[in-house]
Subunit: 344 residues, 4 copies
């Protein structure tokens, strides 16, 4: 990682370092921060000669070579002071909440509009709504691009930024062109490195956020943080880690609740952790308890499925969405627990 003396390299300076690293088979990837830009060396950065030549440049402050597989996401990296903002919240400073429907029903948009207004009222900062859906069975409803219009209309009506899952390059382009603020990588694609690269590249310049779900078989540290590292290495450091339940499933829940990995993640990475209790437990009745447990373990936020009338929802909502009044109460309790456990 190259840290320049100024906030940003000039194009001549960038060309100069690019020429050096190219000689050693590496590339330069700028990581654009709010104030300053730093420059990752993608490739084998252990070449002493290359490092020496870069360190000798007048406009280079220093080369950050941490002993970690996570050059950007590690707690000890130069990026560790980076703060992610979404929905008016600086993550880590107050409880952050994403809420909304698993899947937008393109035939009944009013449910989503009503849900959007209600989750805003309940205290959510970002509105989620599924446009495209990965489904185990190829013959079930896979989402509909029409829902993208509904999502953006809900954003316009409520003023909330929106989050939706993308599964391929075409989705990324459509979502970003429409103005989606947060792109979600689902659990099934958390190791789809081609997609992670595309997301990293595509949204680097737009200050958008990536909500990276944990794949349901991932060990807590290496694979998960490395997936975030892919996104950051290709240009976007605004990655939020989202545990959402793992295997083996706990008989009675949809998955094995995994909010307890939060402290383990936070020992390794500066990335904020936003837990999804809805997918963890998979049943509305258990969601408030699981949400509090996540805050107890130090989560920075929650991603919760909510619907004004869950029985009318599609996708996972009939089973796991909570109503906005339960959401409001859960957020209230979660904020009190936040104050309790962090304030003391």
């Amino acid at each position: 990682m190259i840290l320049p003396k100024t906030n940003r390299l000039t194009s001549e300076q960038l060309a100069e370092i690019t020429a050096i690293v190219c000689e050693f088979g590496c590339k330069i990837q700028p990581i654009v921060g709010a104030v300053r830009t730093i420059y990752a060396i993608v490739g084998d950065e252990r070449e002493e000669l290359m490092i020496n030549r870069l360190e000798g440049l007048a406009f280079v402050d220093r080369i950050d070579r941490i002993q970690s597989p996570f050059k950007l996401m590690d707690k000890r990296s130069d990026l560790a002071t980076h703060r992610i903002k979404a929905g008016g919240v600086t993550l880590g400073e107050e409880l952050f909440v994403i809420a909304g429907a698993c899947t937008i029903d393109p035939k009944n948009p009013n449910y989503f509009y009503e849900t959007a207004a209600a989750v805003k009222e309940a205290g959510a900062h970002v509105l989620r709504g599924g446009v495209w859906k990965p489904r185990t069975n190829p013959y079930t409803f896979q989402g509909d691009v029409k829902s993208l219009y509904i999502l953006m209309e809900a954003s316009r009506r409520t003023g909330l930024p929106v989050d939706t899952e993308v599964m391929e390059d075409a989705h990324i382009k459509l979502a970003l062109d429409a103005g989606v603020h947060s792109l979600q990588i689902g659990a099934r694609n958390a190791l789809n490195y081609s997609l992670l690269r595309s997301v990293g590249r595509a949204i680097a310049e737009r200050a958008t956020v990536v909500l990276l779900k944990r794949s349901i078989h991932m060990g807590p540290l290496n694979e998960f943080i490395s997936a975030a590292e892919y996104i950051a290495a290709f240009g976007n450091p605004n990655v939020i880690l989202c545990p959402r339940g793992t295997t083996p499933t706990l008989d009675g829940y949809r998955n094995h609740p995994d909010e307890s990995i939060t402290p383990l993640l936070k020992e390794k990475t500066w990335a904020p952790v936003v837990v999804d209790p809805s997918h963890s437990v998979g049943k509305a009745a258990y969601v408030p308890a699981a949400a509090l447990a996540a805050v107890a373990y130090g989560a920075d936020g929650l991603c919760i499925e909510s619907h004004v009338d869950p029985s009318k929802g599609i996708g996972d909502d009939p089973k796991q969405a909570i109503t906005p009044d339960v959401l409001a109460k859960t957020i209230r309790h979660a904020k009190q627990l936040w104050a309790l456990s962090r304030g003391a």
Copy 2:
């Protein structure tokens, strides 16, 4: 389950029902409650003729035949209104706390005496102290009966009832004769049905409590509640379920934290759930968060390892015991969370 019209059968009445069930190869097991005694039929109670004859007795109110493998521990059983008391607390009514050392050091009893006083001060209701220890390696310290004297002396000094683990019939007798109030069945013995039977029989008449640890491979429901059913079926319904982490271990913790099974257990059984965060996470720094998560999931209590100077402890204490001041703060927060999530 036979429910008599009176609080207790006379010896003639007991002889009469015993004679009937014997004809069908069954036995009668009295379950002595604080006010009334009920009588479990141990064996195949599905014989219609036997049931009909029992129902015809003048002193029998009714025969409770629930469709559950847990005839006594099921939420729908007649025992469901039973309340367990320990250390002055009626479980379920307020947060219940067991605290103390993993293993009493027989060579340095003062650490345990000081710890006992400190955990009482911090708010614990029952004092735990390991006398006999199951150890993976046959050549490591396996506990010492001398520690039993230290345990009882600490009980006398503090006025706290005490809990210790038993591994065989000889331990049960020694512990009960010394006046131990709560017998703990460790995770390795949670499926040792001979021991469960012995514990059930031995302490039925003494109103003592059994703290049943969850075996680390148990599914949440059937095996765990069935183990409790063994103890109750052989005479003691004062069984507390204690999740303490499971496998596969979560890389970074000692085990996979399993406080999240609490709501699943409570859907099936009336038994109180007291979570052991110390063994779940296995490292002192993570214990307070795990304790709060347990309360978030609805646990009735906590079982926490504490030591005035963990580095001087033996067994698991150097790694996972928290100091009494951290314990006091954890109890305070846990009580506030209890009020928050149950009061609302």
Copy 3:
């Protein structure tokens, strides 16, 4: 699934059924077999009216509506008599072997050429060689398109068809244009439905084969066979299921060997099962035993990493590749076990 009376619908007939299913929001997907073509209805095929109208067409023999989520891959589907051929072998009739390097080293192509000749000599039917590699760490070697040339050159020299992993649409096009015969979907992408669809579409017309690795957290049945169903539903029924070890890892192996799922798969699907012992156990010394165990469980074939000099390999080869002489002996034993357990 629409089964016509003839081996193939005319374009007029296809247009007619397409028009009908479109009215109900469905699409038609031809599945091209060696002799006849059948036509899958993609979408909700439960509409009685739609089915009735299709059944009424003069050129339709019958509509196959099996009660299974796997309309094509189910053992009871009309496709169940389909046989897959690769490398001169009809799978199921004799032991099928894929062997070769985990990763082709573009700087030292001779190792791969020598390995290719040696695995052919040892009895392999298809040559594997990794061109693009999914890697946990974004900064490690991710493969090189130059290796595609080396792979095809090895194919030309040995006459063996070749297999390589694809991770994105660009890889599919490059591999198929170069003449790769078998596309591999790696474990990390086994639930990447966009990629599964692309593979299904792209190779439908070329009679190429897909080797679908099992994702390391997949349950044995639903998710794995559904992933194969995606590929078939989008046009290619030549899918081979490849178990390659799962989580939680067995301490001592790379993964938890999962050849034992073979009989469970075969109860549900007609798809051939080719086990990869190299990734399961992750260490060369254990591979021959794991290969035999796979055949014991009824596997149709083996996918084994081999290298003429494993210490000179890259990727996983230094740890898990076996030498061609060990491969030859393993194949010989596996064939004898095949004869023993199937012949008796």
Copy 4:
């Protein structure tokens, strides 16, 4: 471990070393082999002074201090050349087979007598028959001591030595007094150290064998081999390790088949490994394949449930017992695979 210069210490010599180790808080445990007896030091054997004094004794050849938690069961221990014999077989030299019923039905002894004759005919070396049964539910059949008579009568009729499970000290005494040749420790008691000690002590002098089932959550190495070490440390080195399936269960099987741990065990311990495929897969149809897979992984023997008419069996037999003709064929194939994979 003390290795004397003679085959056995005199009582005076034994008293002398006992006096020395007692000074250091240790005990002496003789391990009686077929030819010579060695003497384990139970306790902390790291005291240099104690070792020096023992080494100085004229009748002591040497003190074996291996760097392993398994002082007796480790491959590098002096016991590693020890060979276990049962049913006329020296384990490791030819395929060893235990077969018989899960549970003897005391009301229908003829089934067991017929099964005993049939499994002998099929090639089994030891006859298994369950007398006492650990059951999840306290109200189901828990075995009957009358079955012990049936078991011994079957032994007398067939000439086969017999194996049965013991769960408490009373069972050990009854079984040994009756003449049972092999005591089985079930999976639920594999960490019941009190029982392991009792078994070690009780059968040390009788040259009987212990079949130690793997607990279903055990990691492959430390806990399993340590449990065997308990038995050996208290006097009996004739311990056979028996994997029998683990958790998490593989959807479709009773457990997760674990024959694949065999090579991992054999890297650490000299103890023979006899796999139980019946409990692993839990369904008769899968047992022959699982048995072959065990031999493929290097198992020294098999423990298989068989019944002349499985539908008339009790316990697990209706589901998982194979008939004697299937057993005969399985043994024949297993022997051929043994010859194939070990001979080459």
